[in-house]
Amino acid sequence: MPSMTEAAALTSPMIVAEDVRKRFGSNEVLKGVSLRMAKGEVIAVIGPSGSGKSTFLRCLNHLETIDSGRIDIEGDTLVANDAQGQARYVTDAEVRRICARMGMVFQHFNLFPHLTVLENILAAPLTVKGMKRNEILPKAEELLRKVGLLDKRDAYPSRLSGGQKQRVAIARALAMEPDIMLFDEPTSALDPELTGEVLRTIRQLADEHMTMLVVTHEMGFAREVATRVAFMDGGELIESRPAAAFFAQPEHPRTRAFLESML
């Protein structure tokens, strides 16, 4: 089996973001963020709140639009600058096709409350992919077993704990068979004792070499699971290095200051 770097060299990067800029009114939240991500990488994006890390993640799958810069997903351009330096997106149909390769998990789960756990997982394959129920059902049950919630298949989300909800949300995203998973602070809305079960599920995906970008405040998770840690502050990506090196010798003074504040 080739090492991670060799494998990365053989395939085009999963995500290429170049000089991504985004402002809300007069507030520039992304001041030229660039990031390349290879297949199988798990990148933890950390940084103080308001640093733009969630916004950056949301720009990658078009939940936010960028003002300038470039984003390629698996070699396909989602958005690039025109001659005037303004971001131009590809057609709506292309945007949907490209973004369909990314699954996303939110801080507040965003499960559909009127559907049972199983129906939450089936909804997109049935509606979006037009699959038959019996085609997707085995896969849905397998995913529920994987996140340890098969016994909750007929429960409504309101009956679940936060950790269970988030695991359903992960299974729901996986049902669409994404190549990349984006996590936007997946444990920030959970009680401390419930974060473990969600992080274990994400770690399990990492063991299966799922390409993942995880915005998180969990330093332990970043250290143990991430292959690389990216630190953002004030709308800039300050540094991005292998997890062990990042925590052992942070290069930038702002990174050091942030890490010290976290201890």
Partner: protein, 216 residues
Amino acid sequence: MDYILSIIGPLAEGSLVTLKLFFITLSLALPLGLALALIRISNNRAASTAVNGYIWLMRGTPLMLQLLFVYYALPFLPVVGVRLPDFPAAILAFTLNYAAYFAEIFRAGIQSIDRGQYEGARVLGFSYGQTMRRIVLPQVVKRILPPMSNETITLVKDTSLIYVLALNDLLRAARGIVQRDFTITPFVVAAAFYLFMTLVLTWFFQRLEKRHAVYD
């Protein structure tokens, strides 16, 4: 007692007119109201403003006036000028009026759904139409049941306004007997009829609310 039984026949006939107007109005005004609400919240400025103006007009003038306008004034309007028979005129006026109220109820319901629901659907690849049909509107139905219950009960009672078009609804039938027999008993019986209809509606909506409460 015999007297009451003797007037139940004509009052029941009047009730049929009332119920017919009620059900036809409801089945036309609900979809129209939903369509208006979707236009109102759409990004199309011009269409949204037009719907806004329409709602202002229909809620800002008495239903009675609208009834009279459709029946008496519509024939004299250029282009749309047609004389409608009395019952279709009543249907038209009621539908136009109630669609405006329903539109506001739908709009409030749709806008009460968390943005996260749209984002959750969007990242799974749902189109706007699919998101509305599968995710948003099913949740809206549950939230708007109480105001819808209110509005439909009001509709039952508002049907009595069609007496101005000389339609023999429940109330007009009762009034006819009162004037003929010099007794107010028919009014009391008519009240009982109305109460029965609104009671059935109340039950119906309570059952709907219970059914939608499973996912609370």
